[in-house]
Amino acid sequence: MIIEVSDLVKRYKDNLAIDHLSLQVKEGEIFGLLGPNGAGKTTLTNTILGLTAVDQGTIKIFGQELRKNEREIKRHVGLVPQDIAVYEDLSALENVLLFGRLYGLSRKALKEGVDDALEFTGLTHLQNKRPSQFSGGMKRRLNIACALVHKPKLIIMDEPTVGIDPQSRNYILESVKKLNSMGCTVIYISHYMEEVESICSQIAIVDKGRIIAKGTKEELSQLIVDDNVLLVDIESPNYSIIDTLKSLPSVKDAMIDDHTVRIVSADKNMNEALSAFLKKGVTVTKVSTNTPTLEDVFLTLTGRALREGSN
């Protein structure tokens, strides 16, 4: 195990940011941490790196206890923070150099690390430009380069694609896969389920400081595969139908998004649900089924959509 977190608790006054959380990450994985805003993902990273004191629990990285070997452990971990943390008035090269020096790299390793990190993030030709002249995507890439300069064995990326264009996002997702194929274990944190679905070999869903489900994408889908998901498009939005549906014994959950009603049924037989539309006089334009996504999993487990947030 490259990371072993057990029974972690972190309180901010009355707010339980991390709630008796345990987590294991194997070497060589791209481990996805999926959860809505405020779920405690960033707090978890901060505790893993010793930036935030914990109230309870133990953290082991590379099989060593964090508190006893903090400096040595940090030498081999890279963090891409959620907020872009680089100096705006230093060039890209100077920024990466600075972090290389902070990791105490020797002259040769420093030069090599800086060159590789800039090349890997596609910033070599921009290395003498300052981030203040960069686009959002370029800044995000520099943010990543600063965490790669020391060639870490473990890299934690906290929402590395927030607020950027689709090309830059794809570039970053591809880089994550490439990093992983080069032998780096990646913890990929996001509230975008498509990203996590597309690149992660293991996924943990976090909500309110707890891990509510964990496994491969397929394993997670299994959690609700027994449920039948039915998508019913209706002519005009109608919210009272949701209450009616929810009151039915065969319906596990129901929600409406624009013109589409999503019904999760515990029963293969959907007659009861469908007849509710007839009884209410709601015009149905289309009926379809779909295979559950992580969004469905989250919805089923928490009763909320991912983007709604934890609070």
Partner: protein, 368 residues
């Protein structure tokens, strides 16, 4: 040393702060020394007596002023044209009148009472008083008088190289300048730490630093070290300008002045670091820097002597590090050594310790 080196780079980019902190003292050094030092009076002397005493007296005056040859005829014109600032006429019998204890008046003329001629007048007055005193002791005996005079000249030759008056003015200008050097150091060393550390926190770079093997202790130490280096460069520059450009009068040793300025700078750094632990953003740190430095400088006597302030203000000043810095520098410039300013240095050190403690009295979480 990554943080240290990075700070040196960031100093270079803080042009406004650096510029102000260096320009303010330099401008005031120039102001403080203008109109002093280089100005020497020219005095025209007509010696009708021509004795050993009068010759010695002219020699002594030459230590203070340029002596020009004038005659009874042209002395008025020379004075009016401004070729000489002052004319002294020594009448025949002047020497014997002194030795006999019934001193004649020395006639002095000047067009307008200027600082220069007044200073010289005071100097000559003092010299003549000494002569009369020696004459009294010699009880009218010419030989004993001249013996005493030789002794006197030997003893006073060294001191008289620079006039008592000029030296006092030079000391005053030096102190005025040092007051502004303190003010400049105060601005720079409060503004930069509070700005740079807060900027790190504002941009979340601070949190990120500690995901690397860097420790908080090392971060703080490297920051402080970079400011100490900056303080040294500044102090050296200022002392070089003062000594080289203006022949400032630092008392027995310029090194002592350097020590006091350095200790004072460390106090300023500690205030800056403490400030950085309190303020929330760079805007606050900028505002607070000006709110703190100028009153500290005014109350501490950087701009005017402490003694001219009301006594309750002087008592209040004892709570400012600036006052202790100024007191120490004043003592040094007026001839004291480092051992005489131990109390001042101790108080300054105590200030530094207190502020560094305040700064480190922070929550344990780095991420917040």
């Amino acid at each position: 040393m990554a943080v240290f080196l990075n700070n040196l780079k960031r100093f270079m980019k803080s042009k406004l702060t650096l510029g102000l902190s260096l320009m303010i003292p330099i401008v005031f050094i120039v102001v403080a020394f203008s109109g002093s030092g280089t100005q020497r009076a020219t005095v025209g002397i007509i010696d009708h007596d021509g004795t050993r005493l009068t010759k010695q007296m002219i020699q002594t005056i030459k230590g203070q002023a340029d002596v020009a040859r004038v005659t009874d005829k042209n002395q008025r014109d020379q004075l009016i044209n401004g070729h000489v600032d002052m004319v002294l006429i020594v009448d025949k019998g002047f020497t014997s009148s002194i030795i006999d204890g019934r001193p004649m008046e020395l006639k002095g003329y000047h067009v307008t009472e200027s600082n220069v001629s007044a200073g010289l007048g005071a100097f000559i007055g003092g010299y003549l008083q000494d002569m009369e005193l020696m004459a009294k002791q010699a009880q009218g005996r010419q030989q004993s008088f001249y013996q005493a005079l030789d002794q006197y000249n030997q003893n006073h030759l060294r001191l008289n190289v620079q006039s008592a008056d000029g030296q006092a003015r030079q000391k005053e200008s030096t102190l005025n300048s040092l007051g502004f050097v303190i003010y400049g150091c105060l601005i720079m060393l409060i503004a930069l730490p509070s700005k740079l550390i807060v900027e790190d926190k504002e941009k979340k770079i601070f949190d990120r630093f500690f995901t690397t093997p860097l420790s908080l202790k090392s971060y703080n130490a490297q920051h402080i070290l970079s400011y100490v280096l900056l303080a040294n460069v500044t102090i050296f520059t200022m002392l070089a300008i003062l000594a080289g450009g203006f022949h400032a009068s630092f008392g027995p040793s310029i090194f002592n002045v350097y020590v006091v300025l350095l200790v004072f700078s460390i106090v300023a750094i500690s205030i800056g670091v403490a400030l950085s632990a309190v303020v929330k953003n760079t805007r606050q740190s900028n505002a607070l820097t000006w709110l703190i430095t100028t009153p500290l400088a005014m109350l501490g006597g950087c701009f005017w002597p402490l003694e001219i302030m009301p006594s309750f203000m002087q008592k209040l000043a004892n709570f400012t590090p600036t006052a202790w810095g100024v007191k120490a520098l004043t003592k040094l410039v007026y001839g004291n050594g480092l051992s005489d300013v131990i109390i001042e240095l101790s108080v300054l050190s105590a200030f530094a310790v207190i502020f560094f403690l305040l700064a480190s009295w922070r929550r344990t979480d780095i991420a917040h």
